[in-house]
């Protein structure tokens, strides 16, 4: 091993240490939701003693204690800042993370494995807010999320439209001419099929776009690249070989911000979910209410009811606040015409941005 190889490995380890620290800080912030006070000397001593028991020849015990102590101090400092905890599904750098950062600029974004974890986590108070994708301009509704929306008590308090900007990422030691394999979520690979074919690259499905970027940074497999967001390039210290490699025209995903309490002020948009009896003209009658009141609909989608697969529920977004003079009577009439009507909330409207 030459000096430059050794240095490269050191750089790689430092990067991994920092990525792991990022995860540890996230966990520390989450733990604060369960604790009465931030200071817990018994737990601290336990943690330090446990680490010291590890017999690491090159990492001396006194240093272990000093290092961990300073990490614990930093965790406590972060906990005191009381940043809002924003849950999203996926790894750091996922498009949901991009949306969460845009919606809550000062928030602490916390990754979750499943959409269910985001919903339950916010419902149970482990997180302050949750960000979930609800629909994509190319692929349509995100069914798992729409399904969870039908049963949750959470309120929608904001929306964000995020332009999906797929980037080809590689580690800085990788020559783009050597790239043969490209890891990413199957949907991202499908959206970049033309690019992959033109450059003779082999797609390799991975569980998540950001997960693929993270793996690349950690393991640096030979001749490999990943398709993920530009944010991943920053988070995992990867080089953007090319931005905007998706085949189709602009592809946006709409995200909703979920909270336990409704949006405090007048919203510009409202989301509801309803089901009508299985009789002719019922859906039409409901939609007619909106037409007659001159309310513009911005989304209408149907989904089979999990509880009753022969029947459907409808997702409706429209302009205006649920307490507006034009809207209120429409919703009151709807109560009598539907078998279920769920008000997800009114919130500010948001246009597409990069």
């Amino acid at each position: 091993m030459e000096l430059k190889d050794i240095r490269r490995n050191i750089d790689k380890i430092d990067r991994e240490l920092l990525v792991l620290l990022q995860e540890r800080m996230g966990l520390a912030l989450r733990s604060a939701k369960f604790k009465e006070t931030i200071n817990d000397p018994r737990r601290e001593e336990e943690l330090l003693a446990k680490a010291e028991r590890l017999n690491l020849d090159l990492v001396e015990r006194s240093f272990t204690r000093r290092l961990l102590k300073s990490i614990v101090e930093e965790s406590k400092r972060l906990q005191k800042k009381e940043r809002q905890l924003v849950a999203f599904q996926g790894e750091h750098g996922a498009y949901s993370d991009v949306a969460a950062r845009k919606l809550i600029p000062g928030g602490a974004c916390i990754p979750c494995m499943e959409f269910m974890d985001v919903f339950r986590g916010v419902e149970e108070g482990h997180f302050d807010l949750g960000v979930v994708p609800v629909e994509n301009s190319l692929e349509g509704a995100v069914t798992q999320v729409n399904d969870l929306l039908t049963t949750t008590d959470l309120k929608v308090i904001a929306e964000a439209k995020i332009r999906v900007n797929h980037c080809l990422l590689a580690t800085d030691v990788t020559d783009y001419r050597d790239i043969r394999l490209v890891y990413s979520h199957p949907q991202a690979l499908a959206q970049c099929r033309g690019f992959l074919m033109r450059n003779h690259l082999e797609p390799r499905p991975y569980y998540d776009t950001a997960g693929a970027a993270k793996m690349l940074a950690r393991e640096n497999p030979r001749s490999a690249a990943a398709i993920a967001s530009a944010l991943c390039a920053e988070l995992y210290d990867l080089e953007i070989i090319k931005e905007g490699i998706e085949d189709g025209p602009s592809n946006t995903t709409r995200f909703l911000l979920l909270a336990r309490d409704p949006y405090g002020a007048r919203g510009e948009k409202t989301s509801i979910i309803f089901a009508t009896p299985h009789e002719s003209g019922r859906l039409h009658a409901v939609l007619q209410l909106f037409a007659e009141a001159g309310i513009n609909l911005t989304r209408i989608a149907s989904m089979p009811l999990r509880s009753d697969p022969d029947n459907y529920c409808f997702f409706l977004d429209f302009e205006g606040d649920e307490n507006d003079a034009a809207v209120k009577p429409v919703l009151e009439k709807m109560e009598r015409m539907t078998i279920s009507l769920k008000r997800l909330g009114s919130y500010p409207a948001n246009g597409t941005e990069n």
Partner: protein, 279 residues
């Protein structure tokens, strides 16, 4: 010229190459920009300047085939990314040289026209590679090549299924030393007789002298060329290559003010009996 199945002229047919909306072979196309991409500010500033003077496309090298291995070789991928930014800023399509067959698909991801330089005119594996890519190709004449050899090289690209070839005369080696090369302007009417492909002139490399660029550009218009490719640098004194032959944006602007009216004037003249009709 028996083997030139695709490039030789069919009566009345003239190829027009569409480069992201710019029609090469119709009207007069001016491509301008630095010899090589040196930095984002240099590329973007030059792109803005040449656009303001009426250029239709931007040129700029990311991979440079230099006579000496110790000369600046270009910024590579970084240069391509900068060119893409210059296009995003100005909307000008990008012309850039490709010198390695392994780079062809990647350069095509960033550029609108792939340039084959004079030294690579007979690099047949490179010609085949660009022939397989749908992007337009600017094929420069080899500095020691006859018109027939040049057309044979165009034939390589066409035969791979890429009909979008633009020929570029850039001067040939003669015993004259005052100019860097000798501009063979007769190549324009000669190629009109031989092929349906559009042909443009490079007055920069053919003369190698700033003072000769404007006169030869005007002569190219009069000779019936389809366009020009000219080196313009926002600060020629500090250029990393070909410093003494690049126009400043001001000189380029002055030249363009003569060039466009001359072209309009030529368009209005009745066609000579011996010349082929313009499209």
């Amino acid at each position: 010229m028996n083997n030139l199945k695709l490039s030789t002229r069919e009566p009345e047919h003239r190829t027009v190459v569409d480069v992201s909306g710019v029609q090469v072979g119709k009207g007069f196309t001016v491509i301008a920009g630095p010899c090589s991409v040196e930095s984002e500010s240099q590329a973007v500033e030059t792109a803005r300047a040449v656009k303001a003077s009426g250029a239709d496309m931007m040129r700029g090298g990311a991979f440079k085939p230099r006579s000496s291995p110790y000369s600046f070789q270009g910024l590579g991928l970084t240069g391509l990314k900068i060119l893409a930014r210059a296009r995003a800023e100005t909307g000008l399509p990008i012309v850039t040289e490709v010198i390695d067959p392994r780079d062809v698909s990647w350069v095509a991801e960033f550029a609108d026209v792939l340039q084959i330089g004079t030294r690579n005119m007979q690099n047949y594996s490179l010609l085949k590679e660009v022939g397989m890519i749908g992007k337009p190709v600017l094929l420069k004449r080899g500095m020691y090549s006859t018109l027939e050899e040049w057309l044979n090289c165009a034939e390589y690209i066409l035969s791979e299924g890429n009909p979008n070839v633009i020929l570029c005369e850039r001067g040939i080696r003669t015993f004259e030393k005052y100019t860097r090369n000798t501009l063979d302007l007769s190549a324009v009417p000669a190629m009109r007789e031989l092929t349906h492909l559009p042909i443009i002139i490079d007055p920069t490399h053919s003369t190698g002298r700033v003072s000769l660029i404007a006169p030869m550009s005007l002569a190219s218009v009069a000779a019936g060329a389809d366009g020009l490719i000219i080196e313009v640098h926002n600060n020629p004194a500090e250029a990393l290559c070909d410093a003494d032959q690049a126009l400043t944006p001001d000189l380029f602007k002055d030249m363009m003010q003569q060039l466009r009216p001359l072209h309009s004037f030529m368009e209005k003249l009745p066609h000579l009996k011996t010349s082929h009709p313009a499209v």
